[in-house]
Amino acid sequence: MSEHSGRDRHRWKTALLAAAAIVIVLGSVTAVVAATGRLEAISFLRFPLGFYLLAQGLLIGIVAVCFWSVAAQERIDRSLSESEEF
């Protein structure tokens, strides 16, 4: 039972991580596109904020999510191998 529960927990955590990362990114892009009109009035580093977010800000965020999800998934995988050893 413990073997399967460890495996199931690993799968749930993996699926949750993937879903969370994708929802965060897609949600952010959609939110910025929807709010562009208001964001364009704000200046950031001499860029209109809406333009800056789509041209750079979201790219930086997506890359950060990429590296964060890699590290998080490695922790999840390590916890599975430790529970299997146990």
Binding site: I22, T36, A55, I62, C66, S69, Q73, E74
Partner: protein, 612 residues
């Protein structure tokens, strides 16, 4: 007895090798810049800067030659993550992205940003949903994975045939862009350039398969990065006094808006996506750079973004590289590195487009029609730009300046009056990434046709040489077909690229999602997912975007999203109503989802060949 592997660890000297490669390329550029001042002709400079790197790629490919099947199809499974990330980025951007995306941003400004965002997001999605599991499967091709997952030869053959249209379109687009750049700078015809490019990528793919492709593409990525970064940084220093174009081009927006107003650029209204995207024909740029959603609507922006995200995540040429690193964790890291490299390019491209636009409109706004700047005439000579005072008012307005989308990157050093070497450097960089992408598309297509179709239909061949010989013949035949096609037909880089991404997303995204994430998915469901996704796109392409109804005019990107949704629904329904999956499929699925252990394909091979 099985020969022991020479090396299952990555080469510890790789950093030194590519450090030397980078130094050699930079030294070549510096030397040629000096020779230009000493009076070398433009032809000599162009020949040196385009042909010497080509020779370098061929030497690297020859050094990485192999007759080992695992080296040939999976680069020995020992490519370090950073290098695989660089190659993935080069394949995804390619020459079509290098020239096409920068040109699209020049014309669409704000509205073109969806493309770069989608590439980066697509890599994230692929890294989370597909790549680690494909690495665990260890299959050499995407159709081979599907065939093994569902224990079905027909799915394998079908998937291989369905990956042909998107991969072939991308292959043709990359060969074309490399040939077009070669024709501009070298005294050769377009047909000869196409033949030469096809020959070069055939040599690279044939002599060492994925191994030679990986190491030559790493050098091509470096040349591409130098080709983009050096002119861009120089222009940034000239215009903003800082060598960080990504951070400083914002201060150019005020003078750009003034120049656009003087040149007669007025706010525009969104059009349908199909007509808003710039074609390869010379056309005026009439939309203000910063105007949000002036060319495409918010909905079209999001649909384009989603379509390209799905296409990137399920692109066979990227996913075929899922087995080249030494572990699942390394494969994940390589996708993150690829996302970083692509994001760097996507963040630099708007800076390039802004600088070109500013220099172009500033010069036009200040010059009379009969005394245009010399660089405009240079672009005119290469048929990249045409300025004519149509209304006879003595000035050139934006609507009278016809610009080639794919020449925008080349226009940057010309408009900034940089030495000619910088212009050729941009072309050499674009050719480099086009070659990397073209060789990868060629290998993906031909490797799959040989391994998944020919060898499956005539029966399994475990012997090493027949398997490689089938791949060699397929590579040569595919390259020849692509060259003949390009000699006879014309394709638009961006349209071909967009259609290919849409096809890949609609066809492969649903089936991969179900195959990897749903245990209950069966071969019937997988076949329906493949067929419905591809079918929707085929209808859209075949009936010119209207599904034959004539009422709802659907664009390619909308059709791709509909196809992906239909594929997903079809896959679920087919799996639920058909016979349940076999015990072997269930076992394979369980092992696929286990992050530990050996690649499933390698284990099966080891067991079939015995302990020796």
């Amino acid at each position: 007895m099985k020969a022991p592997s020479r090396l299952r660890q990555s080469n510890p000297h790789l950093g030194a090798y590519y450090g030397i490669t980078t130094s050699a390329v930079v030294s070549l550029v510096v030397c040629l810049a000096m020779f230009e001042q000493l009076g070398w002709t433009q032809l000599w400079l162009a020949e040196a800067l385009i042909l010497v790197p080509l020779l370098l790629y061929l030497v690297i490919a020859t050094g990485a030659r192999t007759l080992d099947v695992r080296d040939f199809f999976a680069s020995g499974r020992r490519v370090p993550p950073v290098y695989n990330g660089a190659v993935l980025a080069a394949i995804l951007i390619g020459g079509a992205g290098f020239f096409g995306y920068t040109g699209t941003l020049f014309f669409l400004g704000f509205d073109g940003l969806a493309i770069g965002l989608a590439w980066t997001t697509g890599l994230l999605v692929a890294g989370l949903l597909f790549v680690p599991y494909l690495r665990k499967a260890g299959a050499y091709t995407l159709p081979a994975f599907l065939g093994q997952r569902f224990r079905s030869r027909s799915i394998r053959v079908c998937a291989s045939l369905l990956q042909l249209p998107p991969t072939a379109l991308l292959l043709a687009a990359e060969i074309k862009v490399a040939a077009l750049m070669a024709v501009i700078f070298l005294p050769i015809s377009y047909q000869l350039a196409v033949a030469a490019i096809a020959l070069i990528i055939t040599f690279i793919a044939l002599i060492g398969g994925m191994r030679s492709l990986t190491w030559s593409a790493t050098a091509q990525f470096i040349v591409g990065a130098i080709g983009l970064a050096v002119p861009l940084i120089i222009v940034s220093v000239l215009l903003t006094n800082l060598p960080a174009p990504q951070l400083t081009y914002g201060e150019m927006f005020a003078p750009l808006a003034r120049s656009e107003t003087i040149a007669g650029v007025a706010p525009s209204v969104p059009q349908q996506l199909a007509t808003a995207l710039p074609s390869e024909q010379l056309k005026p740029s009439t939309k203000p750079f910063l105007q949000p959603f002036g060319a495409v609507s918010q909905i079209d922006f999001l649909t384009l973004f989603l379509c390209l995200t799905l296409g990137t995540a399920a692109l066979p040429s990227l996913l075929v590289r899922s087995g080249v690193t030494s572990s699942i964790a390394d494969q994940r890291r390589s996708v993150a590195w690829a996302a970083l490299f692509v994001a760097l390019f996507a963040a630099s491209a708007p800076a390039l487009a802004t600088f070109v636009r500013l220099l172009m409109f500033q010069d036009i706004a200040q010059a009379p029609a009969n005394a245009l700047p010399a660089w405009l005439n240079d672009l005119n000579l290469h048929r990249l730009l045409l300025a004519k005072d149509a209304n006879g008012d003595g000035t050139i307005e934006a609507s009278e300046l016809f610009i080639a989308r794919d020449g925008i990157a080349l226009a940057l050093p010309m408009a900034a009056k940089l030495p000619f070497v910088c212009t050729v450097l941009v072309a050499a960089g674009g050719i480099a990434v086009a070659l990397a992408a073209a060789a990868s598309h060629l290998f993906t297509l031909a490797g799959s046709l040989a391994d998944d179709v020919v060898l499956r239909l005539i029966g399994p061949r475990s012997e090493m040489l027949p398997r490689l010989m089938a791949a060699w013949v397929a590579i040569a035949a595919t390259a020849l077909s692509a060259a003949v096609f390009l000699a006879l037909a014309n394709i638009d880089l961006m349209q071909a690229g967009l259609t290919a991404f849409a096809l890949a997303g609609a066809t492969f995204f649903p089936v991969l999602l179900l195959a990897i994430w749903w245990r209950r998915c069966t071969s019937l469901g997988a076949m329906l997912a493949l067929g419905l996704g591809f079918g929707a796109m085929a209808l859209e392409i075949g009936f010119g975007g209207s599904f034959g109804s004539g009422m709802v005019h659907l664009t390619t990107v909308v059709a791709a999203l509909i196809g992906a949704t239909l594929g997903l629904i079809g896959g679920i329904v087919g799996s639920l109503i058909g016979p349940p999956s076999s015990a072997a499929e269930e076992v394979y699925f369980e092992e696929l989802r286990d992050p530990g252990g050996e690649a499933l394909y390698d284990r099966a091979q080891r067991r079939s060949t015995g302990p020796g």
